[in-house]
Symmetry: C2
Subunit: 143 residues, 2 copies
DNA sequence: TATTTTTTGAGAATCATTTTCATTTTTATC
DNA sequence: GATAAAAATGAAAATGATTCTCAAAAAATA
């Protein structure tokens, strides 16, 4: 991670700061869907003086550099994760919030067809499906 | 539209107000992706005293009733449209903001497979692809 | 190391959206 | 149709996520 950060920063003329190293590392280690607040909380454990503004600034930067991706899984705020080499999508339980990741060759195929049909250059595919997970499905039955 | 509104309101014990009639009608006539502000502007042309809070309240209500759908096409705010009988998705140009709608049997297929595989009850599929439209694709070439 | 450039922290500002509450409109009842 | 009860509205304040400002600190460059 640190090497990657250095490389990307050099490339775009950015500084490599302790805050950036820490933040990217935390996102990497979280291996999940982290929101700005939670990232801020975790960062503060190691750098008490870090500011929420710095968190947002760098999330934006990492996104521009293509290191992370931003998703709207819930309603009002974003979640971030290391941009995995293999594109994947999200299946969210509307009841308990559980998030499953998936990918599908059918989606890739759809993308290719659409690209031809509409003559767009498509560089991003964001798919979110919502429903009830097996557990919550059960709970809802009685009602 | 008015009949539908009445039916849905009765069903859930809501009142049928002038504001609701106007708002739903405007969304219907817009035939596109309208945001709260633009809807508010248009509504004020016909009911000067209408409040932005009423716009938001009723967008929320229409959504709960399943009459409209909410999409995050841009960055910071939502767009709304009449929920079309056939589910469709969005292809957005990151340069000029142009929005194309599409749907694809491949997506439906993917949904079915996922439903089986993960044992979720899936009731919502939101797919957004981003890229450059034919025009903006051209403009970017020289750089 | 000195100088320039970039980033940071802290708090204020912004923007979309939601809430509060007194007043008005709609609905249900007679 | 009049009236009481219930729901919705307008206006303004509140909220929550995110962005901006600016002086001070850190990093890159010479």
């Amino acid at each position: 991670m640190k090497m990657i950060l250095k490389k990307y920063c050099k490339m775009s003329g950015r500084s490599v700061t302790n805050q950036r190293k820490l933040l990217l590392d935390l996102i990497y280690r979280a291996k999940g869907h982290l929101d700005a607040d939670e990232l801020f909380r975790r960062a503060k454990e190691q750098q008490q003086r870090i500011s929420l503004a710095t968190v947002y600034r760098n999330l934006k930067l990492f996104k521009e550099m293509g290191l992370i991706s931003e998703n709207r899984l819930g309603e009002n705020h974003s979640h971030y994760e290391i941009r995995s080499p293999v594109e994947h999508h999200h299946l969210v339980c509307r009841s308990c919030g559980r998030v499953e990741e998936f990918d599908s060759p059918l989606i890739d195929e759809a993308r290719l067809r659409l690209q031809q049909q509409k003559e767009f250059d498509i560089f991003s595919v964001q798919l979110k499906m919502e429903g009830y997970c097996p557990k919550c499905k059960q709970k809802r039955k009685p009602s």
